[in-house]
């Protein structure tokens, strides 16, 4: 994974963001104002800026800077927002139920953001290393093709060419594996056979894997199983590349609602307290 230098303009804006936030937080400290209110408003400002990225993505036809530059700003303000968040909660766990929910959700949003940043930088390179350029929409067809090819291999065998145990193993373990999903974590691959360890363990009940994978009639099926293992790894990476957004985006939506509520409650409480 390469560290890419950020866009200088974006970097400058982020630095300005830090300096301005610092200035207001210090001011709050010296004027003995409630620091949580000041940090809260700045945190809200950073939240709005972060949400604006989602809006920008919806309007690619407007000449308001490339989305790539906006993402750099998003990442920078994401870091600032994490710091402001900690300042806002004064580096402590909140007490009230609503505050705790808010705290956990904002934390989840930030963590998912950092996770997304990481996977987006780390995964594309490994994703391409297998030479596959698979549109996720094509994968179901690819899988169906594999199952069909392997069924054809078995159907094409002469009677008695494979022992009945192997055939049983094929129908009870190998074929279901070919039809199965890829899961969320990469399988551990057996270094010698190039297929998942878990599959080998299950096959042991039928036939010794060494005998199975060295038997000539089974070779074409073995090749297909190896391809499926590579494809699964590809799919797991694709899943992670997209999957984190299924947390990041909905949580953003929920947060928008909760923060509006939080601001209303706090200002109402303040007004009530003052009166």
């Amino acid at each position: 994974m390469k560290i890419r230098p950020p866009h200088s303009g974006a970097l400058l804006l982020i630095l300005i963001g830090i300096v301005v936030s610092f200035y207001f937080l210090e001011q709050a400290d010296t004027t003995l104002a409630n620091p949580a209110v000041t940090s809260g408003w700045i945190l809200l400002g950073s939240f709005v800026l972060l949400c604006l990225y989602g809006v920008r993505k919806k309007v690619p036809f407007l000449p308001i800077g490339k989305t790539a530059t906006w993402l750099q700003l998003h990442l920078g303000f994401g870091v600032i927002s994490s710091w402001l968040f900690l300042e806002h909660v004064d580096y402590r766990f909140p007490t009230g139920l609503f505050e705790t929910q808010l705290y956990l959700l904002y934390g989840l949003l930030l963590i998912s953001g950092f996770l997304g940043w990481l996977v987006m930088r780390a995964l594309p390179e490994t994703l391409r290393a297998d030479g596959r350029e698979l549109n996720p929409l094509r994968i179901p067809d690819e899988l169906a093709g594999m199952v069909k090819k392997s069924d054809d291999c078995i159907a094409g065998l002469e009677p008695g060419e494979l022992n009945p145990e192997i055939l049983k193993g094929y129908f009870e373990v190998v074929r279901p594996y070919l039809c199965s999903g890829c899961g969320f974590l990469p399988s551990r691959i057996h270094p010698e056979f190039g297929v998942p360890q878990s599959l080998i363990q299950r096959l042991q009940d039928y036939e010794s894997p060494t005998v199975l994978f060295s038997s000539d009639p089974f070779l074409p099926v073995h090749k297909i199983v190896r391809e499926k293992a590579v494809l699964d790894l590809h799919r797991v990476r694709q899943r992670w590349l997209r999957g984190w957004l299924f947390v990041h985006v909905p949580v953003t939506g929920v947060m928008v609602l909760m923060i509006v509520l939080h601001v209303i409650l706090v200002t109402a409480f303040k007004a009530g307290g003052a009166s």
């Binding site: 993505k57 919806k58 309007v59 690619p60 036809f61 407007l62 000449p63 308001i64 490339k66 989305t67 790539a68 906006w70 993402l71 987006m120 995964l123 594309p124 390179e125 994703l127 391409r128 350029e133 549109n135 996720p136 694709q238 590349l241 997209r242």
Partner: protein, 561 residues
């Protein structure tokens, strides 16, 4: 058998052409008139004696077209693949540069306002691409192209501007048709008129079979040859007198196959070595006879290393080769053999300015900066990558979409952005040729040699003067799919036209749905320009202009480095 005329086709090349230029046979009376009254009369007997009658050529490659008074027949700057011979009526060529603005294509597409652009977000996705007819109530449509028209008082225009009448039976439009270069002048109808239009394949066939016709055209083109230098980066500053002298002394050559785009997809599938298929124009180590200036097409520059030819660069139109060798000649008086070989990639036109003429006429006019620039090799990219770009003719692109696979996260934001700006139907596919971590997506490259333009019968697909982008004027497209077949990169599609109610528009004459060609238009009407480039969050998607060597190498270095 030609499906339309019923004439037998023996030539295998014609067989592969598949269809005739016109759905109707050329009437006998027209053929008789052409035989005795047109310039083709000089070639008639010669072609007959070689067993290739002009009549059979015309039945396949010609058609009769009619224009009304003030119609614009040819626009200066457009690409066209045919020549014209007036049969009836009067046509004129415009010779006044200042008058050209009257012939200019009205900009059909204007940039949207921000408000109108924002409206696109709420537009529903159409099942097939919807191209609206001019009138939203029109359910029927005539496939006769909308001919552009001069919007001036014709008599007054002709009295105030220099124009020249093209006599009946004379030929015009030959330079652009044969050299695949832009039209050099505009032509308009002075009265209602009838013309014989012969597409370039037919003209080449006649040239092949008639020496006399070939000499005639050579002389005609030679008269205007010096104009080609004006279109070139560095030689454009040469005084016109020198340009004329050079054009008289230079050698004009044509290499490679004109049909490269037609069988290109087949060749790509055959996986055979591209370099071996290319004609060698200049062999490394051989006598260097002059400065090689590329007029059209592309050339591969190679260096022999051991027994292997390694690609070290490429030439695009306007590029020159041989400066290093000629500079040595001018400094030491001793000629240097060619340091590299040059090969024709596809069809190319080039001019060789003989060494002595170069030293006498060109060198004194060149500035040191020009010499450095002209002499530098576009060799900052690895041989493998150069081969990748050249073998697949990707160097043709002025706006090639290249994706950095190390950065691309498969998020498809680029495709979504393209869809938002085109009624829900993206104009490119995020798949394509791949070399290591670089992918060339299936999107129009807005080529420097836009082969898709050549067969377009109406000039609907054209290059915009101001931007150089290749765009389709929908009102002029008749959906013949000639551009779809000509594009060697599969970057154009045809789609059905729907009216404002979403119903297919039917052609009155054929009874079939009207089709139009579509492709990436570089978001010509969007306030932002290319939405795909704008939308990529990871700066993975680039548009590359292969004329800009430093731009190419900086992006390539970023991707591969």
């Amino acid at each position: 058998m030609c499906p339309v005329t019923g004439s037998d086709i023996h030539d295998s090349e014609e067989d592969s052409r598949g269809h005739c230029f016109s759905p109707e046979a050329i009437p006998r009376v027209v053929l008789d008139w052409v035989q005795y009254n047109s310039i083709l009369s000089i070639a008639w007997d010669e072609c007959d004696s070689r067993g290739k009658s002009i009549e059979s050529i015309l039945q396949i490659d010609a058609r009769v077209v009619e224009y009304e008074k003030a119609d614009i027949i040819i626009r200066k700057g457009d690409y066209g693949g045919s020549v014209l011979i007036p049969l009836e009526g009067e046509i004129r060529v415009n010779l006044e540069e200042s008058g050209e603005k009257n012939f200019a294509r009205k900009r059909v597409t204007r940039k949207r306002s921000w408000l109108s652009a924002l409206g696109q977000i709420f537009r529903r996705k159409t099942p097939v691409e919807r191209i609206k007819t001019d009138s939203s109530t029109d359910k029927v449509y005539s496939s006769k192209a909308h001919v552009p028209r001069l919007d001036v008082d014709l008599e007054e225009y002709m009295s105030k501007n220099l124009t020249r009448r093209i006599g009946l039976g004379e030929i015009c439009g030959e330079i652009a048709a044969l050299r695949r270069s832009p039209r050099t002048a505009s032509i308009f109808a002075e009265t209602d008129c009838k013309l014989l239009e012969i597409r370039w394949q037919g003209v080449r066939e006649i040239l092949k079979n008639s020496k006399e016709f070939s000499h005639y055209l050579e002389d005609l083109i030679g008269d205007r040859r010096h104009q080609i230098f004006s279109g070139m980066k560095t030689l454009t500053d040469l005084p016109e007198a020198i340009q004329r002298t050079l054009s008289a002394k230079s050698i004009f050559e044509r290499w490679g196959s004109d049909h490269w785009n037609r069988n290109f997809r087949k060749i790509m599938q055959s996986q055979s070595s591209m370099i071996d298929r290319e004609s060698v124009i200049l062999q490394q180590g051989h006598h260097m006879d002059g400065l090689y200036v590329l007029l059209s097409g592309f050339a591969r520059v190679t260096n022999k290393e051991g027994s292997e030819e390694k690609t070290v660069g490429y030439l695009r139109p306007g590029d020159v080769y041989g400066l290093k060798e000629l500079m040595k000649l001018s400094r030491t008086g001793v000629g240097s053999p060619a340091l590299r070989s040059i090969r024709a990639v596809g069809a190319i036109d080039l001019v060789v300015i003989p060494s002595s003429d170069f030293v006498e006429y060109v060198l004194p006019e060149l500035k040191n900066l020009d010499i450095d620039q002209l002499g530098s090799e576009k060799g900052l990219i690895s041989t493998e990558l150069l081969d990748f770009f050249l073998d697949r003719r990707i160097v043709n692109g002025n706006q090639t979409m290249v994706i950095d696979l190390n950065r691309c996260t498969d998020c498809d934001d680029c495709v979504k952005a393209c869809a938002v700006t085109h009624d829900g139907n993206p104009r490119f596919i995020r798949e394509g040729y791949r070399h290591a971590k670089l992918m060339v997506a299936t999107a129009c490259m807005h080529c420097i040699d836009p082969v898709c333009l050549v067969g377009c019968p109406t000039g609907a697909i054209h290059r915009e003067h101001s931007t150089g982008n290749v765009v389709i004027t929908q009102s002029e497209c008749i959906g013949c799919a000639s551009c779809v077949e000509s594009c060697p990169y599969d970057n154009i599609r045809t789609v059905e036209v729907q009216d404002a109610n979403g119903e297919a528009v039917i052609d009155l004459e054929t009874g079939k749905p009207v089709l139009k060609a579509t492709k990436c238009d570089l978001c010509i009407d969007q306030p932002s320009g290319p939405a795909c480039v704008n939308a990529c969050p990871h700066d993975a998607l680039h548009r590359i202009n292969f004329s800009d060597a430093s731009g190419v190498s900086s992006i390539v270095e970023r991707i591969t480095g």
